[in-house]
């Protein structure tokens, strides 16, 4: 199809991006609004593209129009003393972290972001490995500016670290895969990085219990590691208490890679049980104290049983990458309040143009 000039002139080529009628990179919120209005008028399917790191979640629809976030990647305001940053949603996490590290601050969104963007982490609702101590990505989002499916610019939250002002639409946008709108700009609560840190390999997970709140306790394919940070004296003394092989920095593992990638979510106390139920050849990275297990496999063989077990204990097995139409991405359980979710989305994206059907329950 032919697109009107005010949209077509934004055309770009997205390396590794999905096939579509047109890929554009809007430069301003006005450009986004115009393109989304056009999509709504013509019932086009829109996919939003950041770094492409979460493109395997849900069943990504075949898009008519791909919106790249690459031109919405500026740091607008960084106030180190306020521990806040306002930044374009298309900003790569790694680039922003590099900037922030100059003042010993961090987004605490992802330790191994790859090409992932801030907006992508928020839209997918993924969380850092440090989440047992510093919470998930949802708790970092202070303000969101988004363009709804029908082209309205709306803002929720504020640029202060504490705020109870109206309904928290900015929190609703976390993990919504753009169902409310395209996130164009966010204010993130930063965290200061203490002077010292260490990674300690331990033989037995119980050895981690000598510390009340470590930064993370990970099981990386059988290798157990405790992560700590603090003042130099503190880290030194905790290292000796842990009594394992220690390296004096934070040595974060990559998420496991494979044709199929999974997010297994169970009650925290069942993290170990979840690991023991993974089919033989699966690789994994488990966050203890949270119930967040990331896994990878060559085939979905054994996933059905694993999902039944996860759902029987109140959890989920979610496909984060795979071959479309082979295995149900979200699982058989319909999310509670499905009707409200559907009606909410209709108020923001009435013709359901952004990522239609990508959320559980066919939303």
């Amino acid at each position: 199809m032919t697109y009107p000039r005010h949209i077509a002139w934004l055309e770009v080529e997205i390396e590794g991006g999905p096939e579509s009628g047109l890929s554009i990179a809007p430069k301003t919120t006005k450009d986004f609004a115009a393109a989304l209005r056009y999509a709504t008028e013509h019932g086009l399917v829109v996919q939003v593209w950041g770094g492409g790191t979460h493109s395997g979640y849900g069943s990504p629809p075949q898009p008519d129009l791909v919106m790249s976030m690459e031109r919405m990647s500026q740091i607008e305001v960084w106030e180190p003393d306020d521990l806040t940053i306002v930044v374009g949603a298309g900003a790569p996490i790694a680039a922003v972290e590099a900037e922030l590290s100059q003042r010993n601050q961090s987004l605490v969104m992802s330790e191994r972001p790859g090409p992932g963007t801030i907006g992508g982490a928020i839209a997918a609702g993924t969380s850092p490995l440090r989440r047992a101590r510093l919470y998930g990505v949802r708790e970092r989002v202070l303000e969101v500016t988004m363009i709804t499916g029908d082209g309205r610019l709306i803002r929720s939250g504020g640029r202060v670290v504490k705020n109870v002002t109206g309904y928290d639409l900015h929190r609703l946008a976390v993990g919504a895969f753009g169902a409310l709108g395209v996130i164009v700009s966010v204010c993130v609560k930063l965290w200061p990085t203490p002077p010292a840190a260490a990674t300690v390999v331990i033989d037995d997970l119980e050895m981690a219990d000598v510390i009340a709140r470590p930064l993370a306790v990970l099981d990386d394919n059988g290798q157990k590691k405790v992560y700590i940070w603090g003042t130099e004296r503190e880290v030194e003394s905790l290292m000796s208490r842990l009594n394992g092989d220690a390296t004096p920095d934070l040595d974060w593992p990559e998420d496991p890679e494979g044709t199929w990638r999974w997010s297994l979510r169970v009650p925290p106390a069942l993290t170990g049980a979840a690991v023991s139920r993974l089919p033989g050849k699966w690789r994994y990275l488990a966050i203890h104290g949270v119930g967040d297990v990331r896994a990878a496999s060559a085939t979905p063989l054994g996933a059905e049983d694993l999902r039944s077990w996860a759902e029987s204990v109140g959890g989920h097995l979610v496909v984060t990458k795979g071959i479309p139409d082979v295995f149900d991405p979200w699982g058989s359980l319909l999310p509670p309040g499905l009707d409200i979710q559907r009606r909410l989305i209709a108020e923001f994206d009435p013709r359901r143009v952004i990522n239609p059907g990508r959320l559980p329950g066919g939303l």
Partner: protein
Amino acid sequence: MTLVADLRAVLGAEDVLTEPVELYLFSKDASLIRGRPVCVVFPDSVLEVAEVVRIAERHGVPIVARGAGTGLAAGASPTEGGIVVVTTALQEIEIDPDNRTAWVGAGVINLDLTKKASAFGLYFAPDPSSQSACTIGGNVANNSGGPHCLSEGSTTSHVLGMEVVLAGGEIVTLGGEAPDPPGLDLKGLIVGSEGTLGIVTRVLVRLLPSDPDVRTLLMDFPSVETAARTVSDIIAAGLVPAALELMDQRMVETVENWLHAGLPTDAAAVLLAEVVGETEGVTSQAQLIADLAVRNAARSVDIAETEEHRALLWRGRKSAFGSIAQLAPDYYLHDAVVPRTRLVETMKGLYEIAERHDLTMANVFHAGDGNLHPLIAFDASDPVLNEVVHRAGNEIVALCLQVGGALSGEHGIGLEKRDLMRANFSDLDLDAQARLKEVFDPAGVFNPSKVLPEGSRCFDFGGIRRELPEGVWV
């Protein structure tokens, strides 16, 4: 049948109050705004709450949920009449020490939860000043904070799931122990919604392991500036203390005059800091904070190492609001947030506002997150003074917004700040919020007239065929 007869048929006569004196008792929360309920009910199960919602819808009367009534923004004042649903009979506490969670009835008092959890070496992080009275349901409704939310976040960060009664009396359980439930995060939306989307009956909360050790520091400064600079320096050094509380001279004087705890009444500002964690950590962090304070001209630094000493240092902070009674019979407590970097200039502005209106103002606030609590002591029986206090209040809010702040940090919008929402949000922002409210509560029974100013739903872009007015989205 009448409304009251319907309610009594479900709840029993003793759980439906209608006597004028009883209604008067529940006609307002801790704000200054009073309403007139038709009746006050005390359901003791989620099924009864669901019945009450259905009855209210059938009779077309509003429902106002209420916990302990400690709210300061009139969120629980039944200003539109109707039924006040008191949740205090919902008293379950079911702790799961392995998962470090608890299912808690909406009526459970915040401190009771922490007391019960402490048997398992756990605690509930949100600790509003009213924690010995306020309920978990109220904490959820207002996304309450407290001194310790600087490092651990507000209530929303600690709510993993909830049982909620929605429109039509539908009972829904959202979230759970497992992280990241797929789909839209409706529970995150309901936290902080002040009872306008439904009635939360049970909450699944996160509990944190009790801290192995703690150090509390009390530092006194020759100026608000030096105290505020110390706060910034602490953060810049990579520390996020569990609490950073600041009291100005007027507040210290007032507290000391009543408490006699040896607080430095000639200090321009007193900063209370608390660090928690492993012993090695808190010792070195406390020393670092003390060094930074001295570098910023602190006149004295008192570090508590025993529980008695710590309690004494905190007593000053926790007695702040109570001690105000010496100054005047009533007080008007504000709640606004400014970026931490604008604290000093905002404080100056606050003093100017108080002076201009000839009002007695004292300040005690969460300095770490810029959450101000200017407190105006006055006699509420004087209608003229009431008007002046109200005007000064609006100026305070305007000042905070002007420096990039927010309307409320932890008390909520309620009715008190409802009309100020327009100063903070565009018409389209408010329209989006109003649509959201309509989705949850099409009949408008849940706490009507709160949070959103009238006429918020002023745009209608719902129909896709409708042409959008040119440029209206900007």
